[in-house]
Symmetry: C2
Subunit: 164 residues, 2 copies
């Protein structure tokens, strides 16, 4: 049966036989989803990227219940995305705030891509978040780049399994 050309990622190596196996644990998308694949985790992550640190702010900004926010934050600390830091306001007891770890900050391309895809869904309504580069003022673009600096469209992308 002839394969119809389509604009997809070209698979190479073991990944080219994708139809022939189904064992788990190989997929980095699933690993990411295990950490941040819920609405509540992602809207907390959003607020961390917009500078929130404190439990009360996170609850108010996300609209999550305190119980849900606590549970997600504890999980994200345990997954290494956040770390707790004690702080103390004058006359108050010591509390913890939360900051993104280096691993958490590595979610930036995910957050940027989610924002830009969501913008495209509401383009007709002019709603969304504009991201710009503060050094040059240019808009941030929803594109994929290689180490040589080329824009890489979907159909020029090759995927291989690492480590097997």
């Amino acid at each position: 049966m002839a394969e119809i050309h389509s604009d997809t990622i070209e698979t190479a190596g073991a990944l080219a036989q994708r139809s022939e196996w189904k064992d788990g644990g190989w997929c980095p998308i699933e690993r990411t989803i295990d950490l941040v694949g819920t609405r509540s985790a992602m809207i907390l992550i959003r607020e961390f990227f917009f500078g929130a640190r404190r439990f009360d702010d996170l609850v108010r900004r996300t609209g999550l219940t305190e119980a849900m926010a606590s549970r997600r934050l504890a999980q994200m600390v345990s997954d290494g995305l956040l770390e707790r830091r004690p702080y103390q306001e004058p006359g108050q007891r010591t509390r913890n705030e939360y900051v993104l770890t280096d691993l958490g900050r590595h979610l930036f391309p995910v957050v940027a891509a989610l924002i830009q895809f969501g913008n495209s869904l509401a383009e007709d309504r002019g709603q969304g978040i504009e991201l710009t580069h503060d050094q040059c003022g240019a808009p941030i673009e929803p594109a994929v780049h290689c180490a040589e600096g080329h824009d890489v469209p979907l159909e020029e992308t090759v995927a291989r399994l690492a480590g097997r």
Copy 2:
């Protein structure tokens, strides 16, 4: 209270007063999550990007039940991410296959970012998916770029609400 410097996106305009409002509908991340924010939707999307089109392949590759796969595919057609196309094998009845629409293909930066973040979670195990640019052979990088071609780190990013 002095704001501690942190590596976050700088918010500007109405977004700088993020703590003062919580009305819904403004957030493009939430819009994206509404469409593809479940594990089952994302692993179907993964297989479309790796070239699957047919229901049986999608079910086998994802391990989803037929009922779940049907439901998600119907939703993704209705959301405009996929379109149905009839095909016919010799001697068989006409069936539908599914292909990504232009909107669906615009998820490429999301898919690439999820893959690359997931790779970083399993770096020590050498597992993951290597993405390369087939025109030059260079690896695809998990970076955010502006229209001027600069790599934009998190702390050089400014976010503003569009349309208000």
